[in-house]
Point group: C2
Chain length 354, copies 2
């Protein structure tokens, strides 16, 4: 008999608020009968939607607040107006106080990051949180982090990302020994930036119990050369957005080509299975949901513009990670890491930062 | 009556050497009857190939050398063994001495960069060379630089890239006022790295005669939001490789889908026109050839693993850029830029570096 997974929901987050969030949770609830929901936001909007989904309503609570973080709020604005009283903050606080196992928000990334850090604090031994993305690859799925929680990094922080990403791969992909690579470029001799080389050296020396593959290049991400791709947040965000742009671009070329003649349209119908495969593999709704790693609680970030199906994917991701003890796995990984000499490194960094 | 374009060729560069290089030049020669060729490399390999292409042979000279830079040579090795006597160096030297208008090499990027800097020196007013890539976009073609000539950058160097890339866009795309964007990430408030913000401020203030668009994100590259995407070399290389990886990944999904059933195979035949469109748009051979900008002469880098068609594309690119006075356009752009106060900035950088 396993305990249910309790999910706190920032119902006002995202471009469409409760009208996407509630139906999204209804889909997730169907998938996971042992999930329960705690909605934060405008009760007058949430209640009528819940009534349309009685099975969801039966396992849901609603806590009203008038305050919502806007999609264009800067993190500082969000903190000023939304601290303690916004749906985003209250959803995070439910995790902090133990009323929920994880929270899901489609609200703006910067605000969610800032509030998460303030409300949930960092996990012991973590210097910086990371936003981890799930990336469809030719071998299945991979994890790429950081895709933009912070920019700039040093070797110790990259290693922290590696440890957290590896733990997430174990929880998400069910692999016992996920492989980890450092994203770098192949310019001869130079071989990338100093802090990446330094991180590579530490990971290679084997003191951290991670299956370290080595440096990888941009095209290795989609190939699935490793299970976990580690990089600094600026680089990771550029890579993620560039890949999304390329996928859209190719889809557009195909659409244009298909429209060219009656024959191509007919061909399209016949080859529909192939396109369905492609759509399924590349559907951003299937892999909707970034995960903030390194915080004192689990926070799932859904895309702001997603639909109910996409929101359900984000909730499902959170459910799955919670069921597979992501937080415990990270803490365990960090424990190894910190025992193995990272404490000295952290002190150094703190001195540098002060 | 225009003067012919004389092209010096590192015949030994690339995975296949003369067996791809010579037929590639034969294709280019057919396209541009007013082009002539100066081959450097193993005469015993080059001559028999030239005999198979009498029209090319009629406008070609061969200069023998036993020495070739290997694809896995480090830049320092290449310089040690290949300076003054390798086919790569000699091809560059032909540009330096005025015997050729440009050089094309499929040799290794690091070695070519190092030799180019040493042999051709930098253009006056340029601090750092950049490798510019031509990127297929939904609006046609764009230019992205730097894609890996160097890593790390400061604001002044980014502006140098912007000026050179804009000049290249005028020469390549025939646009009078190309738009220029700085690659950045959309993390709220943070809005990217300090040197990118600084470069943005200088470009926004209008003292440099460039049509500056503003910051763009990774997905804007493929959209063609701007004609010229400016970024530091590490970031640009990651973006380029990630896009290539994504394109290959999608092609693979489509192939798998197509093989699934007889019906999809039939559909594929009917929809062939659509796939041909896609193939043409994404064909790496069509946009084969990076351009080193900022050197005292024009250097085109072909992919090492390309075929004759791809090599011809690199030669054609060089021909086209030379015909459209790339070097003069860059010098002119840099003249504007340096007159407009960049000298002060350069001095600062030199102080910092010393």
């Amino acid at each position: 008999m396993v305990s249910p997974i309790r999910i706190s929901i920032d119902a006002m987050g995202g471009d469409f608020g409760p009208s996407v969030v509630v139906p999204g949770c209804a889909i997730a609830r169907e998938r996971y009968p042992d999930s329960s929901y705690l909605f934060f936001g405008d009760e007058a909007l949430i209640r009528p939607l819940l009534e349309q989904h009685p099975e969801l309503a039966a396992v849901s609570e609603v806590q009203h607040t008038d305050v919502a973080v806007r999609m264009d709020d800067k993190p500082s604005q969000a903190l000023r107006h939304g601290r303690r009283r916004s749906s985003m903050w209250m959803a995070l606080d439910a995790v902090k106080s133990g009323r929920a196992d994880l929270t899901v928000s489609a609200g703006n990334t910067g605000a969610l990051m800032a509030m998460s850090k303030l409300c949930l604090r960092m996990m012991p031994g973590v210097e910086r949180p990371a936003l981890a993305a799930i990336w469809p690859t030719l071998r299945g799925e991979g994890i790429v982090l950081d895709v933009g929680a912070t920019i700039g990094s040093d070797a110790e922080q990259l290693i922290g990302f590696a440890v957290m990403g590896e733990a997430m791969a174990r929880a998400l992909l069910g692999i016992e020994r996920p492989t980890v690579g450092l994203l770098n470029i192949g310019v001869e001799e130079v071989k990338g930036l100093e802090y990446i080389r330094a991180a590579g050296q530490i990971l290679r020396d084997g003191s951290i119990p991670i299956d370290y593959y080595g440096f990888i290049e941009g095209d290795d991400i989609g190939k699935g050369t490793v299970d976990v791709v580690v990089c600094e947040g600026f680089t990771g965000n550029i890579a993620l957005k560039t890949a999304e742009g390329t996928a859209k671009q190719i889809a557009q070329y195909l659409r244009e080509g298909m429209r060219r003649s009656l024959l191509s349209r007919l061909g399209f119908l016949f080859a529909k299975a192939a396109f369905d495969t492609l759509r399924e593999k590349m559907d951003p709704r299937k892999s909707n949901g970034g995960v903030f790693l390194g915080l004192g609680g689990m926070v799932i970030k859904s895309h702001g513009g997603t639909d109910a199906e996409g929101y359900a994917a984000a909730v499902s991701l959170g459910y799955h990670l919670s069921r597979n003890n992501l937080m415990e796995k990270i803490a365990e990984g960090l424990g190894h890491y910190n025992r193995d000499g990272a404490d000295a490194g952290q002190e150094t960094t703190e001195v540098v930062n002060s």
